[in-house]
């Protein structure tokens, strides 16, 4: 049985004439320990899939099952101990007036974990920051360090699944490599399951064994990493995305 099953997921924002149909029957499954990628352009609904899965977007149709059990709405605390999310912009997703210690302790207090101090320190060490960062504020950290704190915050409840919404798109290329390596190592060490959303095909190809391409709130196709590398796609949209990712090609008519 798959760890995450999403069946015919529909999300509609607003109502009446001004409603936006953000997801139109999205279905996919993710096995335990797998890393699954979602790619698409802005507005394709790729982030909405993650937000709907963890209860941040209104689900108007379809089902979300974790371990074969449909999730409740609102989600119960047990759900958040299994599934956590890392957001895109580390400049916006950490409270500017809370210390790192407070950011990391809050989920522990909510879920009644013991040994909070030790857990906070351990989480900081695991993401490569060290205990010295505990009493700093987000504005004292660089973008890459903030994203590490965001990952530590997601890891501190010891979840099985991490939903990653463009975890590196706000970072410089060299910092992106460090964060991707960190995510890779944590997955191997803890047997985590990832669902990673990105607009960058190269990042998804590096991180994920399987991926799905989305456009206008619907799934265009699902393919494996190998199929992506072999350009073995059946859809023109995916092919265009692949060509565009390879950089600029000069119009042959203009070549001098």
């Amino acid at each position: 049985m798959a760890l995450i099953e999403i069946e015919e997921l529909e999300v509609v924002f607003g109502s009446g004439g001004r409603s936006v149909h953000a997801l139109r029957g999205v279905s996919f499954t993710v096995e335990e320990g797998e890393s699954f990628g979602i790619v698409g352009e802005s507005g394709s609904g790729k982030s909405t899939v993650l937000r709907a899965a963890c209860g941040l977007a209104p689900v108007t149709g379809g089902r979300i099952l974790i371990d074969g059990v449909p999730v409740t709405s609102p989600r119960d605390p047990a759900f958040y101990r299994r599934v956590q999310m890392v957001f895109q912009d580390p400049y916006a997703s950490l409270h500017p007036r809370h210390t790192i210690d407070r950011v990391l302790s809050e989920p522990l207090a909510i879920h009644g974990f013991d040994r909070r101090e030790a857990r906070v320190e351990q989480a900081l060490v695991e993401v490569g920051l060290g205990k010295g960062f505990r009493f700093r504020y987000p504005h004292q950290l660089s973008g890459g360090q903030r994203q590490r704190v965001a990952i530590a915050r997601a890891l501190i409840l010891e979840p099985k699944v991490i939903l990653l919404d463009e975890p590196t798109s706000a970072l410089d290329a060299s910092i992106q490599a460090e964060v991707l390596n960190l995510l890779d190592r944590l997955r191997a060490e803890r047997g985590l399951t990832y669902v990673l959303v990105s607009h960058d095909l190269a990042v998804v190809s590096h991180m994920c064994e399987r991926l799905m391409v989305m456009q206008n709130g619907a799934v265009v196709e699902q393919l494996t990493r190998q199929a992506l590398r072999d350009h073995a796609t059946t859809e023109d949209y995916t092919r265009n995305l692949l060509t565009a990712s390879e950089g600029f090609t000069r119009d042959p008519a203009l070549q001098t």
Binding site: E41, S42, D172, A173, S174, Q176, A177, E178, L180, N181, D184, R185, H199, L201, A202, V203, S205, H206, M207, L228, R229, N240, L241, L242, A244, S245, E246, G247, F248, T249, R250, D251, L254, T256
Partner: protein, 275 residues
């Protein structure tokens, strides 16, 4: 042919509590009618370099240079009136995000025509603007002329801004991350438009970006900046022959669709690069 723009030993400093901090430290280059890329990470001084050429260094900062010449005109001690006669008319700049760089309470048409009128051309302003919108491949120019910036998508907004910057037919265009806010497929379309306009009109283009791969496929020549200095100058086609460890590190740390290097090589910064 004398170069369109020559910059020698450009330095930009901002005051701080610990005394002035130099963010650009002795940048020199020459530009002909070609596509020059400037690449670097955030904080490398690439955008400030572009802004200084247009005299747009923030008032708190101080830009100095041994030479800053555009088409034989010394820009170092240019008066505000001189700047106004050059900026927009002969050199202009495309900014990163159309959402923040277009006037939100003016229609695109009004903003475009303002640019034409300011630089002479009262009567044909409307025709010129529509022709320009067509040149950037906007299919329905009349609708876009009447639209406000929030009514356009990112790609359309960016095209409208490019149209605005090119309608006066400048000799030098500085594009500061013109496609970073756009999707990959739209990005390529916008670049194609820029490319065509540059080769048809013989403009000089300075393309500022953090994306080394994109720049190497689009530009003729690339300057790599690190901590306010140019560490390497390369032919775009010979990117693989880059010698500076910073350039090589930047190229190496990008994940590739076909590569399977695990873990990704990480850039090890060397204090010697700051020298």
């Amino acid at each position: 042919m004398s170069p369109l723009l020559s910059v020698e030993n450009l330095r930009i400093a901002f005051p701080s509590r610990q005394g002035p901090v130099e963010v650009v430290r002795g940048v020199s280059f020459e530009l002909g009618r070609e596509r020059l890329g400037i690449v670097g990470e955030s904080g490398s001084g690439k955008s400030q370099t572009g802004r200084a050429i247009l005299g747009l260094t923030p008032v708190t900062g101080k830009a100095t240079a041994d030479r800053l010449e555009f088409d034989g005109i010394d820009l170092r001690n240019a008066t505000p009136a001189r700047w106004r006669s050059l900026r927009g008319a002969r050199m202009s700049m495309v900014m990163q995000d159309p959402k923040f760089s277009l006037n939100p309470v003016m229609t695109i048409g009004k903003q475009l025509m303002e640019a034409v009128k300011l630089h002479g051309g009262q009567s044909e302003a409307r025709d010129k603007s529509i022709a320009m919108l067509e040149a950037v491949q906007i299919r329905d120019p009349d609708r876009v002329m009447a639209a406000y910036p929030h009514e356009l998508s990112g790609g359309m907004g960016q095209r409208a801004m490019i149209a605005m910057m090119l309608v006066t037919e400048p000799d030098l265009l500085i594009a500061d991350e013109p496609t970073s806010a756009l999707d990959v497929t739209v990005q390529i379309e916008v670049l194609r438009i820029l490319d065509r306009l540059v080769s048809e009109r013989g403009m000089g283009l300075i393309f500022i970006s953090h994306d080394l791969e994109l720049v190497s496929t689009f530009c003729d020549r690339v300057l790599v900046m690190y901590a306010g200095q140019v560490v390497e100058e390369l032919d775009a086609a010979k990117m693989s022959e880059a010698r500076h460890p910073y350039t090589r590190g930047l190229l190496g740390c990008l994940p590739k669709i076909n590569g399977d290097v695990r873990p990704l090589p990480v850039l090890a910064r060397d204090a010697a690069w700051l020298e």
